[in-house]
Amino acid sequence: MTAYETVIGLEIHVQLATRTKMFCGCELVFGDPPNTHTCPVCLGMPGTLPVVNAEAIRLGLMIGAAFGGVLAERLVFHRKSYFYPDLPKGYQISQFDEPLVAGGRLGDVGLERVHVEEDAAKLTHAGASGRIGGSTSSVVDYNRGGTPLAEIVTLPEIRSAEQASSWLRLLRETLRQLGVSDVNMEEGSLRCDANISIRPVGDTELGTKTELKNMNSFRFIEQGINAEVARQTALVEAGERVQQETLHFDPRTGSITSLRSKEGSHDYRYFPEPDMPPVAVPDELLQSALAAVPELPLERAERFRTELGLHEESARLLAFRRALGDYFEETLGAGGASADKQQVANWIGNDLVRRLEAQRKDDEAGETDTDPAQSKVSPAALAELVALVVDKKINRKAGEQVLDVLVAEGGRPQDVVEAKGLAAVGGADELRPVVQAALDANPDVVEKLRTGNMKPIGAIVGAVMKETKGRADGGEVTRITREILGL
């Protein structure tokens, strides 16, 4: 049986975070009453002239710069013609053979281009009640019409649904940290189409692709791609051919249906937009875009890994959630050069986040990311706590108890340690007699330990913990045991 390889390219539409529309000054406000933000330009009235929003171009250039693409020196717009009620002019102003950005790369996926265009309006299909001349009617809300969009097109370099969704997460986080878009999939400010084909492993030519439209969550994207790959594989194995078509994935039923083609809608008859002759990208706009690109998640993760020596997983966690990364760096700053960076990362990425998320579940169910900077635990307090544990002033369990208190009430770790009597049973001097007593009380364990079987050491650690009310350091107990027994 032939094995098949999946080939996926993505097209992502992102609404750019401008105040006004792409070609007119109508304000963009999500959720306002329908048709309260329109004007003769975005309604496509004859005789009106579009004027480009400089900020949309600046944000588009930032995306291009972040991905290392080639930035266009001039703006060239084309008309993409098709008739649909969500498009009042009968064409969309878009870009064609001279996109704003050519090439580029994000992580493991190369980009073909990024171009800017205007969004279509929102069409609501009315029920049977609103019939016009026997056919059902629809209602158009032009508030969204004309919103600046960046369309990001990847090369067909993605090989699985899982890779597609994890790359999209990276893209979303990168765009969010760039500050160019709200990237809210539910509200439609980030939308994704996938071009999918399969081919026998080893083939270099691309198979016939289908286009899976408008998937609005990472989960649906994964499910949709997997369902389409299964459908294509079954077709090919049955000796049939894949038809080039546009498809819709229904996440409720898991089924894939062909979207009734907008008769020849792929015949877009692009031609240069006569109302806007090509114009040079102003240098100050370009410079302002370049200067506005911050350190992005992949770069930050790389810096955390190579300069601070964090494990790959910690580095990505802290870099991909900016609030955590910022808090981490502040904690390092508060802890001085001697701070154990990986330990700080662990305490923030695991212990603190888990507590804050649990606390939030009790309070409110928000979608916003957990931000430790908003909590009662100051970076200085966390740095102090980690130092107490690293220096074995308290053991890890006690550290976790201290953190519970800090999360609930704030304060200084040292004060909590004193108030709760959590200080570790001091150095070897204090601990040694306790370990000795535990060994004396467990001769059978001692016998096994002497044979080199260290497994039963847990019993000794347990006994010491019990005696010290959990304030001993397990590693220290083991060390003293070995010392006493001469192991």
């Binding site: 006004t20 929003n53 008739f83 069409l123 299909h125 209602v139 015949d267 040079a280």
Partner: protein, 94 residues
């Protein structure tokens, strides 16, 4: 010469309804237009930038500042049909 099928295809894309007796004249007229463009094509235009418009290269960029939108009643008044809050159109899915 543009054939009948091409005329019908372009008419569909443009949402134009053509009567049977309009198709042949339309084919002739469109062919004449293309013929004119072919004449231009005979010129040696190597190294000449395509002219996409006759306007000067003025900076058409606009600051991202809101301007006043139309009152909704005024906007909807322009439409052949409207509901309370939107433009009503025949459903493209019907």
């Amino acid at each position: 010469m543009i054939d009948r099928d091409t005329v019908l295809h372009v008419a569909t894309l443009s949402r134009l309804e053509l009567h049977d007796d309009e198709i042949e004249p339309m084919a002739r007229e469109l062919s004449a237009v293309l013929g004119h463009l072919e004449t231009i094509g005979e010129l040696d235009l190597d190294g000449v930038e395509p002219t996409t418009g006759v306007l000067e290269d003025r900076s058409p960029l606009r600051a991202d500042e809101p301007t006043r939108s139309l009152p909704r009643e005024v906007a909807l008044d322009q439409a052949p049909d409207a509901s309370d809050d939107g433009f009503r159109v025949p459903s493209p899915q019907a």
